[in-house]
Amino acid sequence: MPSALANVGRLRRPLALRPWTVLLPVIVTCAALAVGLGLIAATGASIPRTVSAFWIGAFGSSYAIGASLNRAVPFALVGLGFILAAKANLTNVGGEGQIAVGGILATATALHGADDLPRGLAVAAPLLAGTLAGALWGGIAGLLKVRRGTNEVISTLLLSFIAVNLVYWSVGSVNLLRKPQTSASTQPESLEIPDLTKLPMLSSDPSSQLHIGLVIAAIAAIVVAVVLTKSAFGVRLRAIGLNPLAARRAGVSQNLQLLALALAGGLGGMAGAIMIQGDQYVLKIGFSSNYGFDGVVVGLLARGSAVGVIAGALFFGFLRSGGMSMEMMARVPSAVVWICQGLIVIAIAGSSAWLDMRRISAGRRP
């Protein structure tokens, strides 16, 4: 046995730890940042002010750090869902919609009944409701995939559009979640959820908004990592993702794909619930402002690793906080902020794809 196992190491990817596999993405990302700064200079904003605005927004105070970490939570959860489904060769791009339905159900549960529950349950009930709503949303796409072979990229994306419009509807109608209209200027949004249903804060520092969503995301990351790498479920997911026919022949049920999309959706729904219960407290149009789509990008960049998702989520969380601050304090147009973010994503994805291509062409077999 030991002699048989001793040879296995040689079969691992040979390029994994060469210095330039780490250096290249860093260099390319710096180049992307340089281009971004050039663009910012071209809009007439001052570079030093922009940089300091970014710093203040992202890291400048305990409030800024807390807000950045809070922003990282939905990115992490959606990204984890993405890599879970990706293990079964499913591309879940429906994070935005899953956040939306999660937010709706969490708000509804929080406003209607949850505050009658004891403290712990009052927080857990909306969180669970949001998670289940997201799981249902992902599960619909899963059912279509397993029963009808519908491409999950299409179905999750279209279901997102439906979900985002469900938010419009539910905050637009007083019969649903819209707060009572007292004057013509009443915004189409829900009432604030009761204090009892808000997520507890992690820090006693009143200026920090950091809530326990961070802990939930960390636990989710550990669970997803263990499931994907250690569990029988993970092995079966991988099998069905790599070769559905051979997996079926070996007795792996195709319904696993449904389950994978439902779990991914559940994580998205949980992200939506956390966004409402953690810092927004009010359901309004566009409350999910592209967190779901950026979460997909986080999942893509992580390339199947839960640690990668956490790193990417933190990166995006701080980037978004800093970006918003650049917009407000340094008057950088929001379009340019988005362009900079896009450049960085392309730099990271492009350099890793390039490294992959080199590795494949080096080891290609007939």
Partner: protein, 541 residues
Amino acid sequence: MSASVVRATSEPNFDQEGSRAILTLSGVTKHFGPVAALTDVSLTIERGEVHCLLGENGAGKSTLCNVIFGVHQPQAGAMRLNGEPFRPADPAESLACGVAMVHQHFSVIGTMTVVENLMLGQVHGRLPRRAFAGRIAAISRAYDLAVDPDRRVDDLSVGERQRVEIVKCLIRDPVLLVLDEPTAVLPPTEIEALLAVCRKVAASGCGVVLVTHKLAEIAKIADRVTVLRQGRVVDSAPMAAADMGRFVHAMVQRDISSLGQGLAASVGVDNRAGASVETRPRLRPCPGGKDALLVDAVSFVDPQGVQHLDAITIEIRRGEIVGLAGVEGNGQSELGAVLAGLETPSAGRVFIGDREVTGAKPKVITAAGAGVVPEDRHASGCILEMSVAENLFLGDLRRFSRAGLVRRGPMAAAAADLMRHHDVRAAGPLAPMSSLSGGNQQKAVLARELSIDPLVFLLAAQPTRGLDIGAVEAVYARILSARAAGAGVLLISSELDELIAVADRILVIFRGRIIGEQPAHPSARETIGRLMAGEALKESA
């Protein structure tokens, strides 16, 4: 590789005026990553000769063809075409230089007619359909290649499609025609016709390279034989000066008389006349013996409405091997998919032992005691990217799980045991399946399926395809031992000689129907061959 490699080819002489050589290769070497597919290959193909490339699977025959046709570029060595340096960057350049190739897998478009397919890439601007049809007719006549220019390719038989491929090559007036394993897909009757076409093409002054692993064909057609083993030329001789035993030895490094009937069949030689005529007792299935498999009037119509199986009935007793003969594409794949539980029959019932499994999931079929060795092990037999251990126990993970987590240690240990028992050679149980040779992958699949306990029925679909002779021998041994242990075996193969050598009786499938049963005896070969081509049906119709 032993030091006593025979290199019969002399160094090609590029300077010789008026040489008959069309193509000369000298020292051609091709690596794919760390794998050497061709090493220092030198050979000469002459005008008007049929040059057979012989070798086991993985010997480098296809790679050599692809180098000649410009699909791959060699890392070292040189080629000369008609004396000029020849270094094609892609197939288009080869075609332009007069080198044409018929691939193992056809490259015609099914929804277009024959003439439309032939015009592709040949004509520009206004379509000279009529003039083109004339040229096709002329080629058809000259080479006895019957093709109907106005039929859709989808409606053609495999043999007809192959003729279209050949016409597609000949229409370019090639100086060299390369055919990669053209006989593998043909019924015995059409093989003769194909060989005759090759002879005619060569007679017209064109060089013909014919790749095969069947020696019987070589005896009929070859002018010169070059044998490849592990990417090297190990023998090359004019046919007249050599005998089969020499080529067999060069190819598999074993003496022809040491090969049993089944193995001899797998390299395409007829060993009945040899000293080792096998006197394996054929089992007479005892009347009243228990059924291993009952397929009762099963039909299968795919979602597109194409009927692949038409009221097929097969009964297999325990302890017998039933061969299913037929040209590929006559419903064997679909029958395999139905028996594996991957497709649900449209009508009829399936029993494993005395348990009905009609339309049951693969898990249930496995639980009923049916092992399945699928015809395409990469498509449904194993998962290349996963480890050998995971492949062996994917259906049985629970055995190694505690609280849902897989205990990798015990799983690897059990896998190592099974691998040792079935002689699966790999770096270890955690090595990815893709790192194994084809033969070891197949042995791993067999190991998994044969460890079903109790094994009532084994479906072995094309189990020796693409394997070298050592692996073929191992696969036969496993199938025979499954029979000895009381399992009924359905052996699906397009190699008639393999079935005659291994099976107890042979059923013939043609266009989704069982059209005859014959004893697995060499004397029935001709009858079975005719049944495979559907001729008995035409006569009775």
